[in-house]
Each structure stands twice: as structure tokens, then as C-alpha cells.
């Protein structure tokens, strides 16, 4: 095994007592001493901070940068104005996903692409196939910069307290901004992977990472590991490459339009022109044989990635991600309560004939448990709290 890479926050994780794991070649915190459940709940009620410095950060510069990105990404990059970001897929020639990514336009002259850590090398090799046709270059700046996600109801107040700024970014999701903390510039995007109605990701030079991390903790934010990052994104209905994107447990490529967020990630706008797999994606838009849907367990137990899904005894697909996640309760008036619960939820990749409200069976080590296809696991439109939707 090759040496694991470490982010600039590695010493801070060790000092906080984190359990470290190999995550896509990086030595990362899976959880801190309070545990995944407590971290998940703290993020939903207060503020969680996540070291996302391992994610691949790529600069795309040069005269043809827009044309290149229009070709290799699914989003309409021409619609991106300075100060905005957008979610996109990196399509394969056959209509699946090489990766999913976020593209940021902090400055007019260069795009920053953020990709999954474990896919960074694969993405660069994929881009290299198209790059010779364009007058532009890609620079991997992953090691020079650090990223911290600051998520949850108190995220905005904490960043305001540190910067004294009146606004952190514009009000919309995917707005970008820059704040100054103790004289140091910190770039901010109103994005995240938790589904929290309030949440930011900050970008700063690698050498500033520990400094800001400690300041955030002093303001009441709590370190949150990859374990809670996964339960939060699952509850929020956000896909993860290698689970909902890529190949299914049977080894077949998952079409991009099988994934819930595809409609936000793919554009067929005229100015988009031709791009990798455009025709295949246009065909997929009309429907795919299987699709990824959120399911909630009706019976007692836990459902996990790789488990078989059946409908009336016939194979219908697989669970792609699943576990038990905690949630806070709210009273009838929508006011937050201190009481918590737990529920077993998942994503399943199943026959598209199945729809919201249908019950399927999941093969849990030989026992068939009932699960229901739901519209979503959580409401994200009532700030400041994400609110669990229970079956």
C-alpha cells in the first residue's frame, strides 16, 4: 500500500482524538470521540465543521477554458457568472458518471473544479483525453489549498462573528463571496453536502487551515467526521460517487439521469453545444430502466449498501447506501424539540416502474424487511433547520 496522504488539518484531528481511516488514499477522521450520532445531531442543531481538504481542487485556465468545460461537463458553464458556482457531472462517453463535481467562478479568468478525492487522478486522466483540442490548462492545486465545510443553523452567525462582515455571500445557494478574518482573506461558497438550509464551504491557503479550524471551534462549531458526513448527506438525499454514481452492485454503469440530482446537473441549453454523451443523456432524460430513490425502512433493522431489493418476490434492484441516522423532533408548530429519534433510511437503485409510496422488500442477511419509497427524508426549505420527514 502506498503512503496515505494527509491534509493540513491532520494534526488538529489527532489532537481532537479522531479515529483516522484510509479514505480514497487519504488519512481522514471518520469520527471524533463524541461519535457519529452526536456529530450528526450537532450539525443539524448548531454547527458542524468538516475537513474537506482532501477533495481534488483543479484550476482550469487559458483562452479555451469555457469551451473545454462545456465539452467535458454536463452543466451549462457559460451560464456561470463571476461569484457563482454550479453542480455538474463529468460524463463518460457512454452516459454514466466519471465523477460528480462542483465548478466555481471566483474570478472571471479561471474556473475551479472540485472533485471527489478518490477520483482526482482518474478525472485528470479523463480530461487529458480531450485537453489537446483546447488551448487551456489544468493545474491541480489540491495540496496548496485547504477547504473546510461550515454547516448548520449557526454557520452564518459564526462566520459573521469571525469576520465582522454583514453578509458572507449572496443569499442564494451557490453564491460565492470573500470575507476577511484577522486580516486574512477567506473565500466562501454557499454550498455544502449536508442538506442544511444554512451552510458554507471555505477555501484558504493550506497554511491557514489550522488557524481557521481552531477559530471556528472557539465560536462553538464542532469537528465532524466522514461518518456523520455520510449520514447527513444520505438524510439530505445527496448522491455519493461509488454508491449512487458510477457502477451498480451488479457492475453495470449507472446512467446519469438515474440519479435524483441529474436534472440540476445537466443542461441541454443551445449555448452548451455538443458535449460528451449529449445524445445519450437526451435519451436518458425521457427515463431510465432503473433509478435511484430514497427508501425508508418500515420494519425494525438496518439496511445497507449492496443488499438486494425485491418487489413481490422478484429482483427489483439494490440498496446503494443505507444506515441508521438520528434526527431531532419538532413540535406541531414546527418549533425544535430536544427529543431525538433514529430511523433506518437508504438510497435504492430500483426498477423505474416503482414509485413513491410503493413498498419493496430488502434482503437483510436472508430476512426480508419492508421498506417504502419516499419522496425525501428531510425538508430543507425551512431555515435554519433541516427537518426529518418520517414515514
Amino acid at each position: 500500500m502506498s503512503e496515505l496522504k494527509r491534509t493540513p488539518l491532520y494534526p488538529a484531528h489527532l489532537a481532537a482524538g479522531a479515529a483516522m481511516v484510509d479514505f480514497g488514499g487519504w488519512e481522514m477522521p471518520i469520527q471524533y470521540p463524541t461519535g457519529i450520532v452526536a456529530e450528526h445531531l450537532y450539525d443539524r442543531r448548531k454547527c458542524g465543521i468538516f475537513d474537506v481538504s482532501h477533495m481534488g481542487r483543479l484550476l482550469v485556465e487559458g483562452p479555451d477554458r469555457l469551451a473545454f468545460l462545456q465539452r467535458v461537463l454536463t452543466s451549462n458553464v457559460a451560464a456561470l457568472t463571476p461569484g457563482r458556482a454550479q453542480y455538474c457531472m463529468i460524463p463518460t462517453e457512454t452516459g454514466g458518471a466519471v465523477d460528480d463535481a462542483y465548478v466555481y467562478l471566483f474570478e472571471a479568468e479561471r474556473y475551479m473544479l472540485v472533485v471527489n478525492a478518490s477520483n482526482t487522478d482518474k478525472d485528470l486522466a479523463h480530461f487529458a483525453k480531450y485537453l489537446p483540442e483546447y488551448d487551456c490548462r489544468i493545474t491541480n492545486i489540491t495540496d496548496r489549498y485547504s477547504s473546510i465545510a461550515v454547516q448548520g443553523p449557526e454557520a452564518e452567525a459564526i462566520l459573521k462573528a469571525l469576520s465582522g462582515a454583514e453578509t458572507i455571500t449572496g443569499p442564494r445557494k451557490n453564491d460565492l463571496g470573500q470575507i476577511t478574518i484577522q486580516g486574512r482573506a477567506v473565500r466562501v461558497s454557499k454550498t455544502g453536502y449536508t442538506g442544511d438550509p444554512i451552510g458554507y464551504e471555505v477555501f484558504l491557503p493550506a497554511g491557514d487551515a489550522v488557524w481557521l479550524w481552531d477559530l471556528l471551534i472557539a465560536q462553538g462549531a464542532r469537528p465532524t467526521g466522514l461518518g456523520a458526513r455520510d449520514t447527513l448527506r444520505l438524510e439530505a438525499g445527496l448522491p455519493l460517487y461509488g454508491h449512487e454514481l458510477g457502477t451498480d452492485p451488479g457492475g453495470a454503469e449507472i446512467p446519469i439521469f438515474a440519479v435524483p440530482l441529474a436534472r440540476f446537473a445537466v443542461s441541454f441549453a443551445p449555448e452548451k453545444g455538443d458535449f460528451v454523451a449529449r445524445e445519450l443523456l437526451e435519451a436518458q432524460k425521457g427515463g431510465t430502466a432503473k433509478r435511484v430513490v430514497p427508501i425508508a425502512l418500515e420494519d425494525r433493522g438496518v439496511i445497507r449498501a449492496g443488499m438486494e431489493v425485491l418487489r413481490d418476490g422478484a429482483p427489483a434492484g439494490w440498496v446503494t447506501s443505507g444506515t441508521m441516522v438520528p434526527y431531532y423532533r419538532f413540535d406541531q408548530a414546527g418549533e425544535p424539540l430536544d427529543a431525538t429519534g433514529k430511523r433506518a433510511i437508504a438510497f435504492a437503485y430500483v426498477d423505474s416502474a416503482l414509485t413513491v409510496g410503493d413498498t419493496v422488500q430488502v434482503n437483510v442477511r436472508g430476512k426480508l424487511l419492508n421498506a417504502r419509497i419516499v419522496k425525501r427524508h428531510m425538508r430543507q426549505d425551512l431555515p435554519p433547520y433541516g427537518r426529518a420527514e418520517l414515514i
Binding site: 457519529i36 450520532v37 461518518g227 425494525r300 438496518v302 445497507r304 441508521m324 433506518a344
Partner: protein, 125 residues
């Protein structure tokens, strides 16, 4: 990490307390710490036969599922059904939150003393 000296331990991190007529079974402090937050316990029923070295149920943490391995062969005479609604008791009080009680014990795994088990856990890292 806590290793009560009145208990015996398995290599798969269950503990056993010999109470004469019955053997009480749970999971160790080391086990609960390695599992992380326990969110579900799959329990056997009273009257089920358990076999030394074989699974009698499982514990699910947020991260993964782990088999519960019976230290002894016998018949389940009591099940801690409180764990169904409060699986986190296994994290909070691993030696108080027993899982099953077994009677008519006819066989046992090779069990370790607290001292040997502590050494064993330290070797596991």
C-alpha cells in the same frame, strides 16, 4: 478501557458472567468502542439454542454490522428486550447492558481472563 475481573472474555469481544445456573452474555467495552454508536440489536428469542462459537444475533452501528458470537452452548432463557428501544445502552454501560442469559450450558469456547483479554485487546491495537 474497562475489563472487569469477574468476567470471562471471547476473542470476538463478548463477555460472559457465570452465575451458576445461568451464563450472562454481553459485549465488552473494547467492542462497543470499536463499533461506535450502536443503533440496533438483532436479538434471539427465549428458548432458542445458541452454540459456542456461532452467531446468535448481531449489533448494528452506524458504520457496520457485527455478529454476536455465543461464548457457550445452551438455551436462551432471558433476552434483554430493553435493547430494542435503547441499543445505545451497549455503548453507555457495556457491562450492565447484558444481551442474553443462557441456561443448560453444555459447552464453552476457550475463554480469557480479564488480564489475558486486556493483553489481547492491546495486541489488536
Amino acid at each position: 478501557m474497562n475489563y472487569p475481573i469477574d468476567l470471562k472474555y471471547t476473542r470476538s469481544h463478548e463477555w460472559l458472567r457465570d452465575e451458576g445456573d445461568v451464563a450472562v452474555v454481553g459485549i465488552s467495552d473494547y467492542a462497543q468502542d470499536a463499533l461506535g454508536d450502536v443503533v440496533f440489536v438483532n436479538l434471539p428469542a427465549v428458548g432458542d439454542t445458541v452454540i459456542a462459537g456461532e452467531s446468535f444475533g448481531d449489533v448494528e452501528s452506524v458504520k457496520a454490522v457485527s455478529d454476536l458470537i455465543s461464548p457457550v452452548t445452551g438455551v436462551v432463557c432471558q433476552v434483554n428486550t430493553a435493547l430494542e428501544d435503547a441499543p445505545e445502552s451497549l455503548n453507555e454501560d457495556p457491562y450492565g447492558a447484558w444481551i442474553i442469559q443462557v441456561e443448560d450450558v453444555t459447552d464453552s469456547e476457550d475463554l480469557m481472563s480479564a488480564e489475558d483479554y486486556q493483553v489481547y485487546c492491546q495486541q489488536e491495537g
